[in-house]
Symmetry: C2
Subunit: 195 residues, 2 copies
DNA sequence: CCTACCGATCGGTAGG
DNA sequence: CCTACCGATCGGTAGG
């Protein structure tokens, strides 16, 4: 019984993983359940023994990934770090998500619009809270005179956008290694913020 | 005859404009020709008196917008400006595209993947050339010691990504005005690059 | 610009 | 996990 459930769970994981790659590549609406079934190696109808609907797959991908982000930020809040160190940790975390959980992270960023209700509204709320917490860290850095006087909103936007831009790098021939990307992006962004 | 053609052209423009807004909002595959027809105020079948296919609309939107970008860069190449001034002009141009041609620009950035062949390959080539020219400007700035020693690739990526990130601002309640956005983004990015 | 309609494909279900 | 199939919707066409 336990064995059976574990087997089912791992097949579900395989489906979600393949779906994530396909949603990332072609987008959620342009990915058909038949294409996904082909990739998994079963018939389309058989997918429904493991998942309830196409929407559920998208929800799982996005909510898990959002959760990873929230957990990192929670840990950061109680860490003994100054604002610059916190921002560096944030930047490195997001860059690493982009590099090592490329499909999931990109799907979250690009496909949340295809979430059905109430999941979409809930996601937007979660995201608003997340970026607000980022802006608070930046504001604290300004207050403590560790960070230049910038609009926290602009700094937050620039950081998250720059990481998102690595999608372009990920699709390209990668003449630059992940570590070089990470270090240069941290240097560029942190240098632009340091006092 | 001329009158007739002008009338047809303007209806075609209306269709493309409405399509651009819908492709931006929901993505190309999730936008149906029936929804588009509703928005224009005619039956779906009637769209085909003005356009040849759904794909053609996407091609028009993306190629026109890419052309605008190329023209700006061409003008910049022959302008009497130093590297920093050229970069500032580039940043302001892209921010303004994002603000004033929001639908078209966002569709180009997000929906090019849904271009059919040979249009997709052609677009990718055009884009590769464009970003190479941007990197050349940055490299010249480094050579002339106007710009910090950064990887031109990272700087280019950060600039274009930051502008793209304004999509988030555009969707939000806009507590910050376009002019403030533009000036702060220029300041933040240029400051990060100046020697 | 419309009515009427086409074949293809979609997400998903029934039943085994 | 499969075969067989459903109703809905898709992009697009014929004919007027």
């Amino acid at each position: 019984m336990t064995e059976f459930k574990r087997k089912k769970a791992s097949k579900k994981e395989l489906i979600i993983q393949k779906a994530s790659a396909m949603f990332r590549e072609k987008g959620f609406p342009a990915t058909s359940m038949r294409d996904l079934a082909d990739e998994v190696g079963i018939e389309a109808a058989s997918l429904y023994n493991h998942i309830q609907s196409k929407s559920e797959i998208l929800q799982e991908i996005i909510y898990r990934t959002a959760n990873d982000c929230n957990i990192h930020l929670d840990n950061l809040d109680v860490a003994q770090l100054n604002s610059i160190e916190k921002l560096e940790s944030l930047i490195r975390f997001h860059v690493q998500m982009m590099i090592h959980q490329f499909d999931d992270y990109t799907v979250m960023i690009n496909e949340w619009i295809h979430l059905s209700e109430p999941y979409q509204t809930n996601f937007i709320t979660q995201r608003r809270i997340y970026v607000q917490r980022m802006e608070n860290i930046i504001q604290q850095g300004i207050d403590h005179q560790e960070i230049k006087t910038v609009l926290p909103y602009i700094a937050m936007l620039t950081i998250l956008s720059s990481v998102r831009g690595l999608e372009f790098w990920h699709r390209s021939e990668k003449h630059v290694s992940p570590q070089v990307i990470e270090d240069n992006m941290v240097a560029f962004l942190i240098n632009g913020l340091k006092k």
